[in-house]
Each structure stands twice: as structure tokens, then as C-alpha cells.
């Protein structure tokens, strides 16, 4: 355990984020250990998705730093492409490219970022789609898939370049409890079998307790990170009423 803890793959220091003049988050610092699943939780409007946007290079912080696998994000733009290959992102709605088939969606990052032959790319696409249980859907367009299938296809695409880190934006959003549970199980299986690091934005406790090794709680009023720990330790020991409230309310609804 100690050896793992001493090896953070993501480091966020004194992060301050804003949309124009509207400050969203301030003084956010945390680390994510390699092979861990960190869940970012909090109520609506607390800045979870904003934090994710910044961590995946879509929103430049006004202050602070983000270090992914030893490379500083936003500091040196020449790292841009290299860092992009370090992680995959699963957006809330899957964000599949609608004009392309599922096969093309997964194949595109491979064809643009690798020198692999077409045949190898094809094999890889089949493999990635089979990992998420979508074999046979290669020639479907995103519009022909259900919400859960879109997310799984998005996951296959996020896995395309064998990233070490995966970011998820509310994977359970808009899914029924059974599909949501399947997606959680898939995350756990991938984490165990591929040893990947996960950062998951979520406010659904059932999902959080299923997948999280560690969790941070963002507070909308204070606009900062309020507490961190395992979901169970936060529930049992957190001194912050908001955290306990959040976990209790959700837990009771989960139960």
C-alpha cells in the first residue's frame, strides 16, 4: 500500500478555476495514486465537471498546476499531444463522433496517433469493442445505439490508445440502475485487469461505493475541496456536515 501511495500519477496543486469573472474553484490540491480510482463528488454546481475539464486540458486554470504522469499540463504546449495520449476521457453522453461508425470512432485515434497497419488497427478495434461488450456493433452509427451502449462505445474509444489514466464524467448519468451497475463493474474489471488509474466525476453514491478507492468532496458554497478519504471513512469520520449529509442522503436513497 505504501509503495502505491508514494507514486502519484496525477498531482493537482492550488488549482483555481473560473469562467470569465465567475470563480468556480479555488485552492484545490490533491493527488491520485497510480492504479487507484478517485471519485470527485459533490452537489450540482460545485465544479466537478469544471475540474475535469481542466484536468483533461479543455479549461486553462487561472492559477495552480496539474501534473499528469510527470508532465505539466498547460505549462508547455508542446506536451499537448503526448499528454493527450496518456489519458482517455469518457464524456457524459459518450461524445461519439456522430458522422462515423463505432469502428471509425475507435479507429480514428489509432490511425492518427500510431503508425499501425490497417489490419492491426482493425484487430485492435475489435478487441477494444469486445472489452466493452460491443462486438458486432462495428458498423453501427452512434444514433443507432442506446445510451448505455454509447457510453460503452465511448469507453472503447477512450481505451483505444491504451492510456494509463481514464477520466469519466458522470458515467451513471441518464442510465437505468442495471446498466449503471454494469458500467461500474466494467470500470472495476478494467482497473483490476489493466491496472489503470481512474478519475470519476459522480454524485451517485451507489456508483461511488462500488468503484472508489478514494474520494474528494467539492463544496459549492466554499468553492473548494472540503474533504477527502475513502467513501466509507468520509461517511464515518468526516467532520464536515455537508459531506456527511451528502453521503447519508445518498446512502439512504441507495439502500
Amino acid at each position: 500500500m505504501n509503495s502505491v501511495e508514494s507514486n502519484p500519477i496525477i498531482t493537482v496543486k492550488n488549482l483555481q478555476l473560473a469562467y470569465g469573472k465567475h470563480l468556480v474553484l479555488k485552492n484545490v490540491s490533491f493527488e491520485v495514486e497510480q492504479g487507484h480510482c478517485l471519485v470527485v463528488m459533490g452537489g450540482s454546481g460545485c465544479g466537478k465537471s469544471t475540474l475535469l475539464k481542466s484536468m483533461i486540458g479543455l479549461l486553462e486554470p487561472i492559477q495552480g498546476e496539474i501534473c499528469i504522469n510527470g508532465k505539466m499540463l498547460w505549462v508547455d504546449n508542446s506536451h499537448g499531444n503526448k499528454i493527450a495520449k496518456e489519458f482517455g476521457v469518457l464524456f457524459q453522453g459518450g461524445a461519439l463522433w456522430s458522422s462515423m461508425t463505432i469502428h471509425e470512432n475507435v479507429a480514428l485515434p489509432l490511425s492518427l496517433h500510431t503508425d499501425l497497419a490497417d489490419k492491426e488497427i482493425e484487430e485492435l478495434v475489435h478487441y477494444k469493442l469486445s472489452l466493452v461488450g460491443l462486438s458486432g456493433f462495428e458498423n453501427f452509427y452512434p444514433s443507432q445505439l442506446s445510451g448505455g451502449m454509447k457510453k460503452r462505445a465511448g469507453l472503447a474509444r477512450a481505451l483505444a490508445l491504451d492510456p494509463r489514466i481514464l477520466f469519466f464524467d458522470e458515467p451513471s448519468a441518464g442510465l437505468d440502475p442495471i446498466t449503471s451497475k454494469r458500467l461500474d463493474d466494467l470500470i472495476t474489471e478494467l482497473k483490476e485487469s489493466l491496472g489503470m488509474t481512474f478519475v470519476v466525476i459522480s454524485h451517485e453514491l451507489a456508483s461511488i461505493f462500488n468503484i472508489a478507492d478514494d474520494a474528494i468532496f467539492l463544496d459549492a458554497k466554499l468553492k473548494t475541496l472540503l474533504d477527502r478519504g475513502t467513501p466509507r471513512s468520509l461517511l464515518d469520520k468526516s467532520i464536515h456536515e455537508e459531506v456527511v449529509d451528502f453521503l447519508t442522503r445518498n446512502e439512504s436513497s441507495t439502500n
Partner: protein, 390 residues
């Protein structure tokens, strides 16, 4: 929804109009509301007028007490009335107290008061804030388009140096969509334009017994001006709008964000093939429109004005002896294509986060494109005229 006090009897609900009574006591005004305070009661307006005259008479009174009778039947109209009255008192620094009010009404007043305060605050702050945001954003209105054009230029240099992520297939597909697929509408509009020019010209030229010059008029007007302009306007409405909608929708669905996370430049991957396709297709469509427009003129010339086809075409040929006439239209169309492509893509890429904003972007793309095309056309004519190319 009608609300009735708990204790009202059936016979009391027969009161069919809103009631407003008052009495003076020791310099204080006691107001009692009764009857049917319903939005569906037209008599409410009379009561409101009565209230206005009362409040004018009671200018010197400092303390007001408002209450309802137990049998009052009410809906939102009563809430609004009391809310407005209390607001007026507060504004005029008068003391006002609420006496008996039917169940539920005090809570509604409390909630709506809170909301009103918040809204008022936002309205006042909003004005200043909007102005503040506008001035702060002012440089962005100019900087963003320049930044966008800069990014497109960089993407073009990457394309030339072979480092671009643009796919040839996307360029071909975009060219098909904005080129070949536009042929039917371009044919129709150009043919009708040529036809109309011929009809208008024939009437005027007949007066000078110079009807055959209708061939000159149609051909020169089409190749110099109308071909490029009509194709530009069609492309702005058809393709420019489609680019804005397509890219705006991709932005809405986070597809553009997902491209960025893979280190794929949306400018190279999405904007470049579309803009290049339009840049290449517009001149071809313009040449095609020129020919179809001339054919429209030929139709009038042969069928209405009884010229022979050969005679008309020979006259057309003699009018177009200088190839520059054709080149000038094609040169314009190259710029028009570029304008439509860039404006459509820019509006799509900078579309807002909801479907209403998307609609606005599409409309804006068409309006801005057409305006820019007409401005560019005027500039071209001024330059050609200055350089004595006409």
C-alpha cells in the same frame, strides 16, 4: 386553482365579485378583502381602480392593516394584489401589517417576496454587470475571429507541410455535399436569373431596336456579377448554415471536446476540409451557374424574341471575347467560398451551450456570410474599376 377558506359556507361562495372595503380608525386604515379574487373575474379591474383612488385619498395615512374575510375565494390574483400593495407601502416607507389571510396565502407571499427581492437585485446588478461584461468582452469580439483565422492559417501550413490530421476522405465528402449536391438548386436559380435578365433587358433594348444585345447583357451580367453572387447567396443559405449547425451540434454533444482530448485539432479535422471544399467548389459552381444563366437567356432569346440559337450564341461569344470577364467572376467566387466556409465554421465552433444558441448561430452564419459577400463584391468592383479592369 381556486382556494377557499376552511370555514366558508356554500351560500357565501355565491359572492361573485372581488370585494375591497376599508375604514379609518385613529389615523390608521383597515382594509378588508372579500368575495371572489379570481383571475377569471373581470370585475377585478374595477376593484384595482378603486384601490388606486383610495390610496390617493389616503396619502397622509402612515399605518395600514390588510386582512381577508374567512370566506374569500382566491387564486394568484389575490397573491399578486397583496404582494404589489405591500411592495408599494415598502417603497413609500409606510407601515403595513397583515391580519387574517387564508391558509397557504402567507406562505405564497413569503416565497414570492423572496423571489422578487432576488430578481430585483439581479435586475439592478444585471445592468451594470452586463455592461461590465460587454466592455470586458469587447476585445474578444475582435480577437476571437482573428484567433480563428490564425488557427486556420496554421492548419493550412500544417497541411502543406504534410503534418495535418485532415483526412482526404472528409474533404471529398464535404466537396460532394457542398458541390454536387447543390447542383439542382444552383441550376434552378441560375436559369431563372438568366431568364429574368433576358426579359428585363429585352423590354428596354427593344426601345432602341437593339434586341440582340440581350445576349451581351445576360452573358456579361452572369459571368461578371450574378453567377458568383447567386452561388454565394445559395451557398451561404445552404452550406454555410449547414456547417454552423453541424459544428454547433458537435460542440453541444462534446464531440469537439473529445477530439481535443485525443490531441486532434478541430480546426484541422473539421474546419479545414469544409472550408477548403467550399473554396474549391464555389468557383466550379459559379462557372456552371454562368453557363446555365446564359442558357436561361438563350431560352428567352429563341422562344420569345425569335433569335436563332446560333445567332444568339455567336452574340454571346462576341460579348465574352475577353476572358477576364469570366476570370473576374471566378476570382470573386473563390473569396465568397472562403468567406462562407470560415463564417459558417466560426459560428458553429463558437455556438452557445444550448439549442437556442445553436439556432442563433445558424441564423447569424447566414446573415454575416451574405453581408460579407455583398461587401466583398462591392470592394471587388471598386478595385476592378480603379485598376481599369472593367
Amino acid at each position: 386553482m381556486e382556494n377557499k377558506s376552511h370555514n366558508d359556507g356554500v351560500e357565501k361562495t355565491a359572492m361573485s365579485i372581488p370585494g375591497l372595503e376599508w375604514k379609518h380608525e385613529r389615523g390608521e386604515l383597515f382594509i378588508t378583502l372579500s368575495g371572489r379574487w379570481l383571475l377569471s373575474c373581470p370585475e377585478r379591474q374595477q376593484v384595482l381602480r378603486k384601490w388606486q383612488s383610495l390610496i390617493k385619498q389616503a396619502r397622509d395615512i402612515e399605518i395600514f392593516h390588510i386582512s381577508c374575510t374567512e370566506d374569500v375565494i382566491w387564486d394568484s390574483s389575490l397573491v399578486i394584489f397583496i404582494r404589489n400593495v405591500m411592495g408599494e407601502f415598502e417603497l413609500n416607507k409606510k407601515r403595513a401589517t397583515l391580519g387574517y389571510l387564508p391558509d397557504g396565502l402567507p406562505k405564497l407571499l413569503e416565497i414570492s417576496k423572496e423571489r422578487k427581492t432576488t430578481k430585483d437585485k439581479n435586475e439592478h446588478e444585471g445592468l451594470a454587470e452586463n455592461f461590465d461584461n460587454f466592455t470586458a468582452d469587447l476585445p474578444n469580439y475582435f480577437a476571437r475571429p482573428i484567433e480563428f483565422i490564425g488557427a486556420v492559417i496554421i492548419a493550412c501550413t500544417e497541411l502543406v507541410s504534410g503534418k495535418s490530421v485532415m483526412r482526404l476522405g472528409d474533404l471529398v465528402e464535404s466537396a460532394r455535399k457542398c458541390g454536387a449536391s447543390a447542383l439542382p438548386i444552383v441550376t434552378l436559380i441560375s436559369f431563372l436569373t438568366g431568364l429574368t435578365l433576358a426579359f428585363v433587358g429585352s423590354v428596354q433594348l427593344e426601345k432602341f431596336n437593339a434586341k440582340i444585345y440581350v445576349a451581351d447583357l445576360v452573358s456579361l451580367a452572369m459571368v461578371r456579377e450574378m453567377g458568383a453572387l447567386m452561388v454565394g447567396i445559395i451557398m451561404a443559405g445552404r452550406t454555410g448554415a449547414s456547417f454552423a449547425a453541424e459544428l454547433g451540434n458537435m460542440k453541444l454533444n462534446e464531440e469537439i471536446d473529445s477530439l481535443r482530448t485525443f490531441g486532434i485539432s478541430p480546426i484541422s479535422f473539421l474546419v479545414l476540409p469544409r472550408t477548403l471544399a467550399l473554396f474549391l467548389m464555389t468557383p466550379l459552381l459559379t462557372l456552371y451557374a454562368d453557363i446555365v444563366g446564359i442558357l436561361g437567356g438563350l431560352t428567352v432569346g429563341t422562344l420569345v424574341m425569335n433569335f436563332s440559337t446560333v445567332h444568339y450564341l455567336e452574340q454571346t461569344q462576341s460579348a465574352l471575347t475577353h476572358m477576364w470577364e469570366i476570370y473576374s467572376g471566378v476570382t470573386k467566387s473563390l473569396v465568397f467560398g472562403l468567406i462562407i466556409g470560415l463564417v459558417g465554421c466560426y459560428k458553429g465552433m463558437n455556438s452557445g451551450p444550448d439549442s437556442a444558441a445553436l439556432g442563433k448561430s445558424v441564423t447569424s452564419a447566414v446573415v454575416v456570410s451574405i453581408t460579407c459577400i455583398i461587401v466583398a463584391d462591392a470592394l471587388f468592383e471598386m478595385i476592378f474599376s480603379y485598376l481599369e479592369l472593367r
